[in-house]
Symmetry: C2
Subunit: 180 residues, 2 copies
DNA sequence: TGACGAATGTATCAGTTTGATATATATTTA
DNA sequence: TAAATATATATCAAACTGATACATTCGTCA
């Protein structure tokens, strides 16, 4: 049972908590996983069909009124597959920060442009940080209710810690660039 | 002059500093850019051919002895293209941390596995941090020599700041998981 | 000296994923 | 009631990765 595509693992992970439609899976990713993972419809829907074909997920019709809806659930085989993936070591963690890339080549464009990219980055982080802090508070209040919350909180705390480090860096980086 | 592929911009950025072969471009990425960007040969070589075709880069034969070697350089058009990309706002910064993904679904696998993933992450960061600190020291000593060093230093400082935040988080996360 | 592994160098390809788009219906808002 | 937004599935070209193939040269240890 070799683990291949990450998209399969993420979907199974989400399905291990609750039954979901493809649309809902995308939604969960865009909220809960947003800060460290992402996936597009172009990978989600084909992966769902494939998971069903391989017996790792089941599908059922959940249509209401005229709205078609396919609800997916994890099978026992799917749960084993997920557990196996969770067991094996992490293959790759990666950062793809265009901001840092533009900064690296900053000499070509000059100090002012570099600062404006840092400003934009800082604004984005500042605007997202309160959401993370809010999520952490909510999770802390519900930590006894459900063990999964403990793990969500861990990832949110990661976000908060790194975001605060980013903000410190923004300040220092701008100070360094302005020092002339 | 719409900007399309990121790989073109990274290559032009590297070529804006010095003439390079495809192999050397890959090398530069794997050392200087490693902590916030990456690219494979499968994107580099086709992109180089394409850049030449579009007049953004020039190529010349640099063979020595029996070793074939194609040296690429940036053209004036290439430099304009790079400058335009550096000018426009950053489209996307993204984190893809498999460690956090596995942690998010940690409830399925249990505390011990979660801790072992954090341990592995911590080890990796601890082993890479001295390299970043060394690079920062070297850059600080040469900062007067070359203006580009100032921008390199910025990205290295980003790495150091975030790595230290990661290590703090590792400690706290493990403490939280062990508290039972 | 010679053998063997590591580094230099170019190149391609199957498979994975993104980003955009198409289509259709339901719900909310003005 | 019209328009905008949300729910829902689906596909596709284009981008990119990871692996691999191939050839040569350099370094080093015996």
């Amino acid at each position: 049972m070799a683990i291949e595509k990450k998209i399969d693992c993420v979907i199974l992970g989400l399905l291990s908590h609750e039954d979901l439609t493809g649309y809902e899976i995308k939604k969960r990713m865009d909220t809960f996983l947003k800060y460290f993972w992402g996936a597009s419809y172009g990978s989600i829907y084909p992966a769902l069909s494939d998971l069903v074909k391989r017996g790792l997920a089941g599908k059922r019709d959940g249509a209401e009124n005229n709205r078609r809806k396919i609800i997916y659930s994890i099978t026992e085989e799917g749960r084993s597959y997920l557990k196996e993936w969770l067991r094996i070591p992490v293959e790759k963690d990666e950062l793809r920060y265009e901001t840092l890339l533009k900064l690296f080549f900053g000499n070509e464009a000059g100090v002012l442009q570099a600062i404006s990219h840092i400003d934009a980055f800082e604004e984005k982080i500042k605007s997202e940080l309160p959401y993370l802090i809010g999520a952490a508070d909510t999770l802390k209040n519900h930590i006894e209710m459900d063990d999964t919350h403990k793990y969500y909180l861990l990832t949110v705390e990661f976000g908060i810690k790194t975001y605060r480090a980013y903000l410190e860096w923004c300040k220092e980086a701008k100070a360094m660039l302005e020092k002339e």
